[in-house]
Symmetry: C2
Subunit: 197 residues, 2 copies
């Protein structure tokens, strides 16, 4: 029988270590800019060991996006998120992007993959589409409730505003990479200025 993995904390298994490392490289250098050799060297194993866990790079990439989608679904259902007021939920979202910024100016997953999208394996494309769609839907709902209660202000539909805000946030992390943290702060400041009465 399989031993259940320790639910949390402490030494992650190799598979998770591969995913974590690959995610870092993806968000810092792009999907076409790291190889199984890079991963193997960093982890102190042979490239074939990576192939054992993820037969092809397509599998690895797809697993990466699928994991992020699972994280999103878990996150948005967390009591410490669902219990918040819309303004605080928005702030929680902004905090995620701010955290990317602080993490060596990593871009978000969407921003890392969008440009190379056509070179990605089809299942990976599908996962990324779902990820972006669900995140946008979540934010649209937050914005709708926020405006209904007078806590947030904007014109147009919640769906349109949500798409605009998320797109801006993804782009803002890219601008931060090209320049420095300043434009990110400026853009997020502008977003808050417009949304909060």
């Amino acid at each position: 029988m399989m031993k259940a993995p320790a639910a949390s904390t402490l030494a992650p298994d190799t598979r998770t270590r591969i995913l974590d490392l690959a995610e870092g490289l993806l968000l810092e250098r792009g999907f076409n800019a790291f190889s199984y050799q890079h991963l193997a060297r960093e982890l102190g194993v042979k490239p074939a060991a990576i192939h054992y866990h993820f037969p092809s790079k397509d599998d690895l990439g797809t697993a990466l996006v699928a994991r992020q989608l699972r994280r999103l679904r878990k996150w948005r259902g967390l009591p410490r998120v669902t219990n918040l007021e819309p303004v605080q939920q928005l702030d929680a979202l902004l905090a995620v992007y701010d955290n990317h910024l602080g993490h060596d100016r990593r871009v978000c997953l969407f921003g890392a993959l969008a440009a190379d999208f056509r070179t990605l394996p089809v299942p990976m494309q599908a996962e990324l589409r779902t990820f972006n769609r669900e995140l946008t839907e979540w934010l649209a709902e937050v914005l709708a409730v926020g405006r209904a209660t007078g806590a947030l202000r904007f014109v147009g539909s919640p769906a349109a505003k949500a798409a605009q805000v998320l797109t801006t946030l993804a782009g803002a992390l890219q601008v931060a990479r090209v320049h420095d943290e300043t434009p990110f702060r400026v853009i997020v400041g502008q977003l808050r200025l417009e949304l909060l009465p």
Copy 2:
């Protein structure tokens, strides 16, 4: 003596054909997703011919961004652009992005390179920074004049709003690539809705 190249129209020379093709591949698949072989095959020459015009891929990439910067500087100085009212100048900018969308949903140069930024040659990074800075400064001036004349409406500084709008446009093309044209239209519609009283 060198024959002066025909100022415009008609069969471009190989160097220009390389740049045009590389630009297309860059905007459609990313900088790390095309090779000298791809270029050569498409142009019906040998890879070494590309090396003749651009000794390294770094040179090619840098030339690509430098050309786009020259285009920007020329474009913003054109009478048919400088003579426009701010609202029309904004529309002219939006038309550029719309044109990318119509061109097989190409992302903009900035959006194509931002994610892979750290893998780019340093001179290419510098050109891209300058390109983004100058474009943002241009839009900030347009927005400042537009608000002063009452033709445009926004809160915050023109510089902040310009950074936000350009970031959103770059991101909107990426979203269009991942999904379809719809979110791009929605996001640009939202931008116009907010800016035009």
